[in-house]
């Protein structure tokens, strides 16, 4: 079941993808869709503003790379502060997901 990302979700996912390996904007969007098996839809219009905010916060840094035969691409990689932010966000999300799972899988206490 496909679901659009909420506004606050996208920066974390961008950090997760870029944390794995440096890549450009298009590859980030496709990788999020691939990893989520199509469940999470990236709005292209939200991707580049999110990348800019992460760049200005110093979490990622972008660099233009000229390539032979293809247009130049801006490749993003994670900075040290980006790694720290990713760790913090990932821990918070995992804890949230576990709690959600416990409530969904649990049963009410007898009255």
């Amino acid at each position: 079941m496909k679901r659009d990302l909420f506004k606050g979700d996208l920066p974390v996912l961008i950090l997760a993808v870029v944390g794995e390996a440096p890549c450009h904007g298009y590859a980030i969007a496709r990788e999020i869709e691939r990893r989520s098996e199509g469940a999470l839809g990236v709005k292209e219009g939200a991707l580049y503003p999110a990348l800019r905010v992460l760049e200005s916060n110093g979490a990622i840094v972008g660099e233009w790379q000229e390539q032979v035969g293809t247009p130049a691409r801006k490749i993003y990689k994670l900075t040290q502060s980006g790694h720290a932010e990713l760790e913090k966000a990932a821990t918070s999300w995992r804890s949230y997901a576990r709690s959600f799972e416990r409530v969904l899988g649990g049963s009410n206490e007898p009255a």
């Binding site: 506004k7 450009h24 904007g25 298009y26 969007a29 709005k43 292209e44 219009g45 939200a46 580049y48 503003p49 800019r52 905010v53 200005s56 233009w64 247009p71 130049a72 691409r73 801006k74």
Partner: protein, 250 residues
Amino acid sequence: MNPLDEFLDRVGGHLRSMPGWKREEELRELRSHLEQRVEDFEHEGLKTEEAQARAVEAFGSPKALGGKLCDAWEGVPTSWRGIAAGVLKTITIWFVAQMVWWTPLVVLSHLASISPYTPTPTYLYIFLVFALLSTLVVSIYCGILLSSLLGRRGPMVVLAAPFLAALLADVVFVVEHYIPVELYVPEGNMFYQQVAGLFLELLFTFPLWLLGAAMFRIIQVRRLRSLPRGEVPNAKGNFGPFLRFKSRKG
């Protein structure tokens, strides 16, 4: 003009606060993304025109995209919480600044009026002049502050100010009706009247707010557009409350 060029042209038209070199970079990156998307759609069997239309559709409104990219470039808040915080900060400054001048004036006027033998002192008129001048200056400053904190949304928020001011004054009158302070403190309702008066003052001074916000926005956009290659706006120093402008190496 094909759909990609048309879309990028329209986005470019909304990147108003970016210098030329930055606008080119943004459009270059967007073009690269769109071209790859079109290629993927063509591999899926779509014709070029259809692939281009779908690629552009996935980006949504060029105006919204251009606005968001400018907000990110300027480092201004985009969430409702951030915008509300900026508005609250400005209104607090307005309120405190006005109370500093108008409270003593109201108290002194009241003291002078309750004594039948005391003519109105000259210093009251001096106080009144200072209070009026401060209203003028503070109104323009608050307009500037809103533009500084909220970027392109600053002047838009100012346009909504009269409605907000009238609403707040109404709230104060309603509170006064249900919680009359006069029962506990003689002439206590003077406080409510002063607070409501300040909000109504906001209503009447909103042209000054708008003047400050609009003038500042024009200067701010000019400064942003003239940033040399490699420099980016420093949001913390960028026309903050003390009107400093700093850029930093990107």
